[in-house]
């Protein structure tokens, strides 16, 4: 297929945590708030006057200092982020908000806080921590709303004078929805029998929408969407099978590339930093306050394994099944970052349930934070694709 016009531009944005658009937005007088977990309602960090950047550690090399502070048993994501923070790689931030979503990310930020890794000389800089509900229900919603008020809206208003009114939240949600609708529309081309976008290309656009100021990428996303409408697919599909990738945090587009180079097409992305459900638009009504609706949207669609009630646990697995059907997947890859406790359990249960109850071919793998050149992973994926092929032949026979 012909190259997409803005792909290289978006790829470049992902080369550094402090991408060029962050500097541009800060020059406009906006404050940059860092976060690391999907449980932080993103629109609240994108109120007029501020913008969010979900932290990554692209091109990670040594993580020795991060390992000294966190040991080698914490996930490489948390270690790489701490390492980068101690190196000064996040000095552009004006604040960090983290939920006590998983222990490792919480500890990572606490280390930054105690070691004063950033913000020492920045007026108004803050670290704040949130409690996130563990069940999706009315009590959880009350907690969510209160936590967002106390640990997001309050520091933003007090430290930077950000408008946190209902109207401001609605405006931020509108902007959020604009980006989400574009990303999802771009992603819909993955549903085609002969798709006009690859999983890798899509992951680049989607990931960029988490790390760059939203108002500065909308025009390029719109152009990309238009371009895709007329993009000609290759005469013959380039892949052997369509797979849904499910699981823990993936902010390394090379992982998706590796899966696709092994002969698969990543038709669906159900992981943290992915678009399902992370890029679902949030439609607000006029009756209820915006904050409660926003928190409700995040809580009820939450796919994080920390939600411990049976209904949500079952829902996580049925959602994977529904997506696989919707995106016409042939199999499911359950991936988990090594040392991630929540996804270790969810991967085990999810892969068994999807295989036995929903009858999907499933590959369950763990992986390091950055994996672009792993021969081991390539072999696992190739073997999985072969097994899908064999199953297809057996079914047909």
């Amino acid at each position: 297929m012909k190259d997409l016009k803005h792909l290289i531009y978006f790829e470049d944005l992902l080369q550094e945590a402090n991408n060029e658009l962050i500097g541009q937005a800060q020059k406009e007088g906006m404050k940059c708030i860092g976060y690391m977990c999907e449980n932080v309602p993103e629109p609240l960090l994108n109120l007029p006057g501020c913008f969010s950047s979900r932290l990554r550690a692209p091109r990670t090399g040594s993580i020795d200092v991060g390992t000294y502070y966190l040991t080698s048993f914490l996930c490489e994501y948390s270690r790489a982020i701490l390492e980068r923070a101690l190196e000064g790689g996040y000095n552009f931030l004006d604040g960090v908000i983290t939920p006590d979503g998983c222990t490792m990310l919480n500890r990572c930020v606490e280390n930054m806080d105690v070691l004063q890794a950033m913000g020492k000389d920045k007026k108004g800089f803050f670290f704040d921590y949130m409690e996130i509900p563990m069940k999706a229900d009315y009590n959880g919603l009350n907690l969510y709303v209160l936590q967002c008020k106390n640990h997001i809206l309050k520091p933003l208003a007090e430290n930077y004078g950000i408008d946190t009114s209902d109207a401001a939240i609605r405006k931020a949600v509108d902007q959020h929805n604009k980006v989400c609708e574009l990303i999802r529309a771009i992603g819909d081309f993955r549903k085609l029998d002969v798709p006009t976008i690859t999983g890798y290309e899509y992951s680049v656009f989607c990931l960029a929408s988490y790390v760059a100021p939203k108002h500065l990428i909308i025009d390029k996303l719109e152009e990309t969407l238009e371009e895709l409408k007329t993009r000609k697919p290759d005469a013959k599909p380039w892949f052997k099978a369509r797979v849904e990738v499910v699981g823990s945090e993936v902010d390394d587009t090379d992982f998706i590339k590796l899966v696709e180079e092994s002969g698969a097409f990543v038709c669906c992305d159900r992981f943290c930093y992915g678009s399902l459900p992370g890029r679902d638009p949030i439609y607000l009504n006029d009756e209820e306050d915006a904050l409660t609706q926003l928190c409700g949207a995040y809580m009820y669609r939450g796919e994080c394994p920390r939600y411990m009630d049976t209904v949500t646990m079952d829902g996580r697995r049925s959602y994977v099944d529904e997506l696989a059907k919707e995106y016409k997947a042939d199999g499911i890859i359950y991936q988990q970052m090594k040392f991630c406790d929540p996804w270790a359990y969810e991967r085990m249960m999810g892969s068994h349930i999807l295989r036995n109850r929903y009858d999907w071919p499933v590959l369950a793998v763990d992986r390091p934070y950055t994996i672009g050149s792993s021969g081991q992973m390539r072999t696992r994926v190739q073997a999985f694709l072969e097994s899908i092929d064999i199953k297809k032949i057996q079914k047909e026979g």
Partner: protein, 532 residues
């Protein structure tokens, strides 16, 4: 900064009987050569208590359904090692210390035997007493049972306590099979082996099936929270036992999570009422609350005593008992109040006589982190081998506040918050969650309060909450000039780090950094890889 050092205290009283405890071990053996000689009086006392333990075990096995239970569940074989566990915990103890240890441990053994009896009676595979099964509410082993304080006629039953938690105390290798089962099913080997083993028991279908309903809690960590999902999958979908998930907030020191926590407690109680038909009884609740407060008062006084030169209830005596009384008992069993009173009397008596538990006290240590369950008697070893007094451990540094214990309309409302507080501040999670201050800053405050000159830091290698503070612990100890000994272990799995592997870390530090010789050299290297 100069390194802090406590002045060595020498025991004016000679320790009667054996003093080279390592000589009692048989290389590669499960049991020891002989019982410890403690002088005539103490040996006789210890022997009578040993007979008492055998009687408890004998009574349990006298029931046919319990024999069936014994052979149905693989983990039951570990209970053959009960007397040996008590021997390990009482190693080197004499006089009041020995009596305090037996007072606690014998009661715990009776309580666990009652629990096993309950499980055998209600279990669909053995006793199958359906009516009896209906009065049981299942809880997790590591769970605070405060929500059961108002149900006098219901049994708060933990299947994980005897199958995993106690089993590994009895036999260090007890959980290896279940850990392997979980890993064969697809769980990686880098998660905490406690919830991993519990999940393994469930996957292996080796947990008794009984109960009207179950209340699960996110207890200590991400692993515990997620491990519950494995167990509830079988409980709800196969066994038909409804489950309530009780989430306890992680940032438990914050005011803005308390209403959420209290509401979850209200809902848990309502759930139990609905599924058992039993009503919450406020009289019973406040009766239990009084006992909770009495236990808290005693523990506070014991800890105060440990701040002086003559600590009394410390080490293994403090750790194991606290874990039992604080969470599993939580005021519901009057016998533990009686035991508290006896313990207090013994401790005061020993304190007045300025008694010491070892020939020398060379170091006063705060033991921090999560202790190894396959080597819980390590605290006794520290004292006997190196003269390190484990003044308190992290798991004993729990709630020190009194809860409302008189029945008034205001206190009935307050009670939900008290139960929520107790649940949020369960053992371990009160330190491993709630922000870094409760884990990091509080440690160094305890060092000052207890006049300690050493930190023994258990590093349970797959406990992410503790690992996540590793570098900061080191930095702070270095800043303050406090020797900090890392003791790595893998909680339930001695194949990763053996008991000798645990000891070696202390031996090497004491010899190379502290340049000291052991108090009892026979304990420095023990061939106890197979020992119960």
């Amino acid at each position: 900064m100069a390194v802090r050092k406590f002045k060595t205290m020498v025991n004016p009283e000679k320790i009667k009987g054996d003093t080279r405890y390592g000589d009692l071990y048989i290389p590669h053996g499960k049991v020891r050569k002989r019982r410890e000689w403690r002088g005539v009086g103490d040996t006789f006392y210890d022997y009578t208590r040993w007979l008492g333990i055998m009687l408890t075990l004998g009574k349990f096995m006298a029931k046919p359904r319990n024999i069936k239970f014994f052979f149905r569940y693989r983990w039951m074989a570990n209970y053959l090692a009960v007397p040996m566990m008590v021997d390990r915990f009482t190693q080197g103890l004499r006089g009041e210390y020995l009596r305090m240890a037996h007072e606690e441990q014998d009661l715990i053994i009776i309580d666990v035997a009652k629990l096993l009896n309950t499980l055998a009676r209600g279990d669909r595979r053995t006793g199958n007493d359906e009516e009896f099964s209906k009065i049981n509410v299942l809880v997790d082993e590591n769970e605070m049972t405060a929500v059961m304080m108002g149900f006098p006629n219901l049994k708060c039953t933990s299947r994980e306590t005897p199958s995993t938690y106690v089993s590994v105390l009895l036999n260090q290798h007890a959980m290896e099979h279940y850990i392997d089962v979980a890993q064969e099913y697809g769980l990686p080997g880098d998660v905490c082996p406690m919830p991993e083993a519990e999940a393994g028991v469930s996957i292996d279908d080796d947990a008794p099936i009984l109960g009207a309903c179950a209340v699960q809690c996110n207890t200590t960590c991400d692993g515990s929270l997620l491990g519950n999902g494995v167990i509830s999958e079988r409980l709800e979908k196969e066994d038909g036992i409804p489950v309530f998930q009780l989430p306890a907030p992680l940032r438990h020191k914050e005011d803005d999570v308390q209403e959420y926590a209290a509401e979850e407690v209200r809902r848990a109680i309502k759930f139990i009422e609905e599924h058992t038909g039993h009503k919450w009884d406020w009289d019973y609740y406040f009766e239990c609350a009084k006992r909770v407060n009495f236990a808290t008062k005693c523990r506070n006084e014991w800890l105060d005593m440990n701040k002086t030169d003559y600590p009394q209830i410390f080490g293994g005596n403090l750790a194991l008992y606290t874990e039992t009384t604080y969470m599993a008992i939580c005021g519901k069993v009057p016998e533990f109040e009686t035991a508290d009173k006896r313990l207090m009397k013994l401790a005061e008596k020993a304190y007045k006589k300025r008694k010491m538990a070892a020939p020398e006290y060379r170091h006063r240590a705060i033991v921090w982190g999560v202790q190894s369950h396959y080597y819980m008697d390590f605290l006794v070893w520290l004292l006997n081998c190196w003269g390190i007094v484990p003044l308190t451990d992290m798991l004993s540094c729990i709630n020190t506040e009194m809860i409302a214990d008189t029945d008034t309309p205001e206190n009935r409302e307050q009670a939900y918050y008290d139960m929520a507080m107790l649940t949020e501040e369960m053992i371990m999670r009160n330190r491993t969650h709630g922000g870094y201050k409760v884990l990091l800053d509080d440690l160094f405050e305890f060092v000052e309060e207890f006049n300690a000159d050493m930190i023994i830091l258990w590093e349970h290698i797959t406990c992410k909450a503790l690992d996540g503070m590793h570098g900061l612990f080191e930095d702070k100890a270095r800043e303050r000039g406090i020797p900090l000994i890392w003791v790595d272990h893998q909680l339930f799995d001695p194949r990763v780090i053996s008991r000798q592997g645990v000891r070696d870390q202390v031996n090497q530090y004491m010899r190379t950094v502290m340049q000291e010789e052991p108090l009892d050299p026979s304990l420095e290297f023990l061939d106890d890889e197979n020992a119960w």
